[in-house]
Symmetry: C2
Subunit: 301 residues, 2 copies
Amino acid sequence: MELTILGCHSATPRENFHTSSQLLKFKNHLFLLDCGEGTQIRLREQKTNFKRIKHIFISHLHGDHFFGLIGLINTFRLLGRNIDLNIYGPKGIEQVILLQLELSKSITKFKLIFKELENDHSEIIFEDERVKVSTIPLRHRVYTNGFLFEDKSKIKKINFDKLNAFNIPPTFHSKLMEGFDYVDKDGNLIENFKFTHKSKNSFKYAYCSDTCFFSSIINQIKNVDILYHESTFLNQDQILAKKTMHSTAQEAGKIASKAGVSQLILGHFSTRYRDKSRFISEARKEFKNVILAEEGKTYYY
Amino acid sequence: MELTILGCHSATPRENFHTSSQLLKFKNHLFLLDCGEGTQIRLREQKTNFKRIKHIFISHLHGDHFFGLIGLINTFRLLGRNIDLNIYGPKGIEQVILLQLELSKSITKFKLIFKELENDHSEIIFEDERVKVSTIPLRHRVYTNGFLFEDKSKIKKINFDKLNAFNIPPTFHSKLMEGFDYVDKDGNLIENFKFTHKSKNSFKYAYCSDTCFFSSIINQIKNVDILYHESTFLNQDQILAKKTMHSTAQEAGKIASKAGVSQLILGHFSTRYRDKSRFISEARKEFKNVILAEEGKTYYY
């Protein structure tokens, strides 16, 4: 997985602070998560191949998470795109996009496929052989979902120390990694488990923005490898966090700790704070392995 | 008048090429003309006092002229604005803005006053003591208006050589400039025209984007001081210009020449051309006093 932070600030975009958007390379997919104003410029800065983006996930319809979507779609159109585009987001998203295309008499050569979300429980919204994406219902001022990305492939690691005892041709190694047993030329069955490690749990990434402290998500994000959790505020602004239904850094840490995730990435920062290291120190009271999202940076896992 | 070009490129925004928007300081007003995606960032770069913008004029509903409007309104809202905002633009603009505010459950403390345009003839859409703004119906793929800004004040210049022959106190000079006659202490009428120059025609700025070559506008923009006219293409792409209902630089020059304007500013450039000086040389075949719009630059008149 490669995660590029295109924007990780809340509310209004500034010259050097961009609103929410992430580019997620997950197995063979390039997913876009949220799309604040100017996201298409961030994608150009990353030299993104626009055609590779086939699925866009919008958490909620606050402007800092979706005002860039219509511009991106329009740019796809002007560049002559002819590959389907799937958009997942709250009910209403289709109307607002189609209305703007209609008012500008713009016709896309590609299909725009909307999957409008309105359930209060988690649902699988995309799945193929290797990847599964589910919603993580969040609690915010408007209907909001986070998204859980799961790698379904269970590639096993070969234990070469043990493998040497058997006469198995290297051309069969990829089959072994997929879990197949081997039958030698005399018809003897050599069982897979004898020379492979147990397959690890599948890799999972959870994107949770925007939300207040909401313990109901803990079960669903249990033991995920990477959790991106919003932390709009610091403890000093707890009242504001409550009022606006956002989280503090410490609350994000608490969620990470209770869910036993491997790493927490903090983001969706209010631009009011100059010293971002305070987000880290406050979250660390609850959970050690925490980092700050940085715009323009790619994280490799 | 002060005219700041925030964006003067067509179609899709790029890292260093912004879509249409202009900030026009005209008498005591700060008008915004069109509002492509990211305009709010351009306004921040110019250190604009957001509260001073009370009137926004949208030429048409193509994305490169209005996708930044909802983001700007939302930012005004988040910054606690409580001053009315007037928006002039094609029918449909109110629906698309209000729908997005509704979907995000956003309430503005300020009044949003829409003046939707649908006439095919010119109409006065704003007027006060000093300024008049009228539409300039243009011809494009969708319903489009340019805008004509007129300084209504007819300040006369005093002819001091002649004034010296009369005994008029300096405290009355401003009245003289406004055209008043003077009555001396013996009751003698001294007529204004005897010591003032004839008032010049009022200062006018015409914004015409987007449009194909459309000679019907010539009458309305006759003798304006400054004409901003789109020139998306060069002559080599005349066929494309016709197809997309845009103008070439030479066509813009022809309009400027026939209208007898004082200066022509070219803009709305396609990003396909590296060497912009060609726009100048092609327009100069028709009209001499022509300059290129430059993003981030302010022109003082």
